[in-house]
């Protein structure tokens, strides 16, 4: 039997994602790829494999999965309750998933996008140079129940039980923004107001972008609604006709005509993508030099993620009587799994 991941059930919008397909901007196709690219890198580090490996992106909640051969998995991104054959397993960690065992992943406890990585990576067909579904462009599609996804050979079988400490980026927070060519369309007073208030993430949001809601009046530019369509990049904050800011994410359009007040730093974009409806986001302008420095630090962090791995002290995947164990020990608060032990 070939190595495959069987998807018994998956949340709507679950899709195969990798780092996306750069190089087609001039043809109107945005890069796409994982909404939270840091989560992709974290999964690759946990399995000590290439960051180009494709994983499953699960919006809001996970699903029920099985593998046809013994495999390694890692779970990253928005923390979700996960178990193997009923035994809780730790998030931001790597685990052994035996053939035929049932992997259950529940609703996100915070954040929006969780990721399931497999040793070797998903080996679905590459289209225009990547395996990522680009839902807005009609490349690939959300997974249907019963899907079987091929998994590439794993060069490091048995290498599991690693944990990565991940500072939370799943509850909104302050987002750094650089000015762009259209920032000047907004008066200093409007820009000041933009950075002085908190925004709630709207329920409307997907891989293309998220809409932000503010309690006050919408934002207005001097350019109005007749701006020439201009190049857009992920992170750009466009102000749509009703004055609401809309932050563009990985699957955004490549050009657009709504004026943009600035652009979120790529390293802060996972925090925007992961915010849940109702979470509060704030914006602060930084200089280009500060932004470059932040990006270089973030890239260095990603390059050295593997240095931060540490062994899982107890692998709850092997603790079938977890509840009883905690009662007997009597020394944990009962939430050590949520804390990542």
């Amino acid at each position: 039997m070939t190595r495959a991941l069987i998807v018994h059930r998956a949340s709507p919008g679950t899709s195969v994602q990798d780092a996306g397909r750069p190089g087609h901007l001039a043809d109107g196709l945005s890069r796409g790829g994982a909404a939270d690219r840091l989560a992709l890198a974290e999964g690759a580090a946990l399995l000590r494999q290439d960051t180009a490996c494709a994983a499953l992106e699960m919006p809001g909640m996970g699903g029920e999965f099985e593998v046809t051969k013994d495999m390694r998995i890692a779970l990253t991104g928005a923390p979700m309750r996960a178990s193997i054959d009923g035994a809780r397993i730790v998030w931001n960690a790597s685990h052994a998933l035996p053939a035929g065992a049932r992997l259950s992943i529940g609703a996100a406890e915070s954040g929006s996008y969780g990721y399931l990585h497999l040793g070797g990576g998903l080996a679905t067909p590459s289209i225009l140079g990547a395996r990522s579904a680009h839902l807005a462009a009609g490349i690939g599609a959300p997974l249907a129940p019963g899907s079987r996804l091929p998994v590439a050979p794993d060069p490091r079988p048995g290498d599991t039980g690693q944990l990565l400490d991940v500072p939370s980026r799943f509850e909104g927070g302050t987002i750094r923004v650089v000015p762009g060519p259209q920032t000047g369309f907004f008066s200093p007073a409007e820009r000041e107001r933009f950075t002085s208030m908190g925004f709630r993430r709207d329920t409307r949001g997907n891989r293309m972008g998220v809409r932000l809601l503010c309690d006050g009046e919408g934002f207005h530019s001097e350019a109005g609604l007749s701006v020439l369509s201009e190049v857009i990049t992920p992170g750009d904050i466009q102000i749509t006709g009703d004055g609401s800011p809309f932050v563009l994410l990985s699957e955004c359009q490549t050009t657009g005509g709504y004026p943009r007040i600035g652009s979120v730093l790529p390293c802060d974009l996972p925090r925007v993508a992961q915010a849940r409806p109702g979470d509060t986001l704030r914006y602060t302008f930084v200089t280009l030099d500060e932004a470059v420095e932040a990006e270089r630090r973030a890239a260095s962090h990603i390059r050295t993620l593997r240095n931060h791995l540490r062994p899982l002290v107890r692998d709850p995947g092997t603790m079938h009587d977890l509840l009883a164990y905690q009662l007997i020990s009597g020394v944990t608060a009962g939430d050590d799994l949520e804390r990542g032990m």
């Binding site: 109107g28 196709l29 009609g138 190049v231 749509t240 006709g241 470059v292």
Partner: protein, 246 residues
């Protein structure tokens, strides 16, 4: 905006990009300059440049922050800009003329009347005006293979809507600010939906996934809903034809 802007103008876009703009109003020279300057960037092949593209009047480049600096790249951009007058560049080679059958109005394109009225035309005048104008692909953008086309007569200088229309279908012909866009995917839009075609602009499974190229010209010839339905069912090109322009 204070003083009159100088063109061309170099600005940063995001943390890792430059936008080289040749105007803030659409014009033939600015569009030619953007296309030609992007071609020159690709030709130059500078280390650290990861991707280039164009919009209507700008060229864009994205670069690797780990191996390039803004200062060094800006310097190179200024030098390349100064090598010639980009606004007099020729159009790309191998341009084609496309004829794409289009249903104007009806329940397939419900905003024709509204757009005609905004342009100060009757419905029939609007159809006659759009279907007789040979528009050129000025850039491909927004969605895969999706053309911005222009330039329409001055009466079509109508703004976008303040609210987005939900999910206009692929193949929709929409209008605003003297331009047409032909949608390659289903999308919400601020533009008004005046025509419907059965032309597939993006074919991810094909060897040549993107059909139109900047510089191509298009006539949106008027057809009936019945004929379009027939073409949609029997012709992958939705009745569209093309010929190479001399």
């Amino acid at each position: 905006m204070s003083a009159a802007p100088q063109w061309p103008r170099i600005a940063t876009l995001g943390v890792d990009g430059f936008l080289i703009s040749f105007g803030d109003r659409l014009s033939e020279p600015a569009n030619r300059a953007a296309l030609a300057f992007r071609a020159a960037l690709d030709q130059a092949g500078w280390a650290g440049v990861e991707e280039t593209s164009t919009s209507l009047t700008s060229a864009y480049l994205r670069f690797d922050l780990m191996s390039q600096t803004h200062a060094a790249l800006r310097d190179r951009l200024e030098k390349l800009l100064s090598t010639r007058d980009w606004t007099t560049a020729s159009l790309p080679e191998g341009r084609r003329l496309w004829r794409i059958p289009t249903v104007y109005g009806t329940d397939q394109a419900p905003q024709l009347d509204e757009a005609a009225s905004a342009a100060g035309l009757t419905r029939d005048e609007a159809i006659a005006s759009i279907s007789a104008t040979r528009v050129r692909v000025q850039t491909i953008g927004f969605a895969p293979g999706q053309p911005y086309l222009g330039e329409l007569p001055e009466c079509w200088d109508i703004p976008r809507q303040t609210k987005l229309s939900d999910n206009v279908p692929a193949g929709a012909l929409v209008v605003a600010i003297r331009q047409l866009v032909l949608f390659s995917v289903t999308t919400p839009t601020g533009w008004r939906h005046i025509g419907q075609t059965a032309f597939r602009l993006f074919r991810p499974e094909a060897d040549a996934p993107f059909l139109l190229r900047p510089g191509d010209e298009v006539l949106f010839t008027s057809t009936t809903p019945d004929k379009l339905e027939n073409m949609r069912n029997n012709d992958p090109d939705g009745g569209a034809t093309s010929e190479v322009l001399p």
